[in-house]
């Protein structure tokens, strides 16, 4: 729990190398830190500050703006129950109430065993499947209270290994082979692209 480990530091350098300015990699790197530790630690933020050459305060400034970054430990499974308008119309409040009762936590709280954090969240983009939720950003659609109980039971019994630990988003990363990379379009390199100038330049 701390700085990015050696593997992640290597990935971090790869990501930074894709941008014309290093600071652009900040959000992806904060995700990387959260993937490593389950939340974003102060040490990781300092390390990222070094990597992208800004102050730790700037990293905190960005980090604290975004809902997904947790600056304190959360449950292994972060259950986000949507309470956007479409879900609201189809029983989101009742579902949230049920979830909080069942797990014995209140808005954003974590169960004593550290397994689950439950939170009512703004629209998560599955409006026609209302009410919906995400567990570590994996969807469950048209969720009844019985469905919810079954989901929690499945997770507890280890039957949902398809849901990765909190912090992991895409299981596939972009990887640009060195020989195929065009490279970042540097701000300082104020060149008209060759294919445009060949064609009689800018319209």
């Amino acid at each position: 729990m701390a700085r990015l480990n050696a593997d992640n530091e290597r990935i971090a350098h790869e990501i930074i190398g894709r941008y014309p300015r290093k600071k652009s990699a900040l959000i992806p790197l904060l995700h990387l830190a959260q993937e490593q530790d389950g939340w974003v630690t102060d040490e990781a933020m300092s390390h990222i500050a070094d990597l992208v050459e800004v102050t730790p305060a700037e990293v905190l400034g960005t980090c604290s703006f975004y809902e997904m970054f947790k600056r304190h430990p959360v449950g292994d499974y972060h259950v986000n129950i949507c309470h956007g308008i479409a879900c609201h119309l189809l029983g989101a409040d009742e579902l949230i109430h049920h979830a909080e009762e069942t797990l014995g936590v209140k808005g954003g709280g974590t169960t004593d065993d550290g397994r689950f954090t439950v939170e009512g969240v703004e629209c998560i983009a599955a409006c026609t499947e209302a009410p919906c939720l995400q567990v570590n950003y994996r969807f469950a659609n048209k969720v009844t209270t019985q469905d919810f109980d079954a989901l929690i039971a499945d997770i507890r019994s280890g039957a949902r290994s398809d849901i990765p630990p909190h912090g992991t988003l895409a299981k596939t990363r972009q990887s640009i082979p060195e020989e195929r990379a065009a490279g970042p379009a540097l701000v300082e390199d104020a060149q008209e692209p060759a294919w445009l100038s060949r064609n009689g330049s800018d319209q």
Binding site: R18, Y19, P20, R21, K23, S24, I27, P28, L30, H31, V54, G61, T62, F65, Y66, E67, M68, F69, N80, G84, I85, A86, H88, L89, L90, E122, C123, A125, A126, C127, T128, A130, Q134, Y137, F139, L169, A170, K171, T172, R173, Q174, P177, R180, A181, A182, G183, P184, A185, L186, V187, D189, E192, P193, W195, L196, R198, N199, G200, D202, Q203
Partner: protein, 436 residues
Amino acid sequence: MSIPKITTARWDVEDGHTLAGYERTGGYSALKKALEMTPAEVHEEVKTASLLGRGGAGFPAGVKWGFCPPGVWPRYLVVNGDESEPGTYKDRIMLERDPHQLIEGCLLACYALGLSQCFLYVRGEMAHGQERVAAALNEAYEAGYVGKNILGTEVSVDVVLHWGAGAYIVGEETALIESLEGNRGMPRLKPPFFPAAIGLYGKPTIVNNVETLSNIPWIINNGGQAFADIGEAPSTGTRVFAVSGHVNNPGVFEVEFGTTTFRDLIMGEEYGGGIRNGGSLKAFIPGGASAPWFFEEHLDLPLEKGTVDRAGSMLGSGAIVVMDQTTDIVKACHNVVRFFSRESCGKCSPCREGTSWLEKILQRIIDGNGRRADLALLMDVCDNISPGIAWPPKQTTICPLGPSAVSPIASVIERFADEFDAYLGEPSTEQAVEVR
């Protein structure tokens, strides 16, 4: 007339998201065709198509493409995949089911305008969309469609997958750019920060929505005119609408733009399938949470930008949320206002303070602690965010998020006065509080 599926054709193709599936169904043919054309010719086709931006504002993409100042390099493309509008998720499905179509659209835009690098910004919560795009990019790089010397030509463009971390406001194009620069996602003041002139890193930047770019391969394959022949000018082509809420068959549907009506979409058998349980329509949101609400009398309006604008609302990003007669309008209104209150970035005080005041006042009305004067107070706060409470809205804020919180209140406060009254109880002798 039967309308071709333009952006959703591969949603039913099992492996449509893979390179093999995409190529088998005609994928990357537009790129090959475009590389034989001049960049200006590609741009011209998009102008002819009269493709309106699908992200919310509905500005013609071909015209927006022409706004880059000549001679200023490099230019960037930023794809707005930070879709968070309550009521829709069309972009998420496009990212998951047809990522190559979007990538091809990006490459065509880059070729046409001389954009040197593309950043594909996907909403943070869309983990599956991110992995589908990442896998598609990896395949496309391998196959020579993206990166250095695309298909053996001198065209070299990297497409970089970038992902957000949960902030609705980042869907606003200047906030998106701030976020992509590694900052808090707060909108910039326009002017001077029109992205086409002063965008990412201060350089000319085209910001286009996922659905907008997903139309480009079809336009190049079939010609701009064929696209313009579909729909009702200036609302050409098809559009993808999400119908959610109290309908029998909620879903995401691609329909002809400009001719299909709200009634078709909400009541039509092949679409929304009518109000659930044989109930009646109370209200519907025609274009996402930011849009003023519509009612029974608006059902026969066509889904056409100009018509809907003149009727006092907007099509926005194509999110239609339907409410039946059982809906508690005050609670629904509070729900939408709470969304904007939570998503306000905090840069402008009328929005930062105003939206949370609106939410709190509505909450106390629902809790039974409301006062008669609260109705006037709500309107007064609304007026401070959006002077005159008119449509299209004026704003005291940098971006339209603040005025968006005004829409639901202005839509229902008079029409459903009886529902507010039911919460407020009998008019008392209590003196109204002077609010100014």
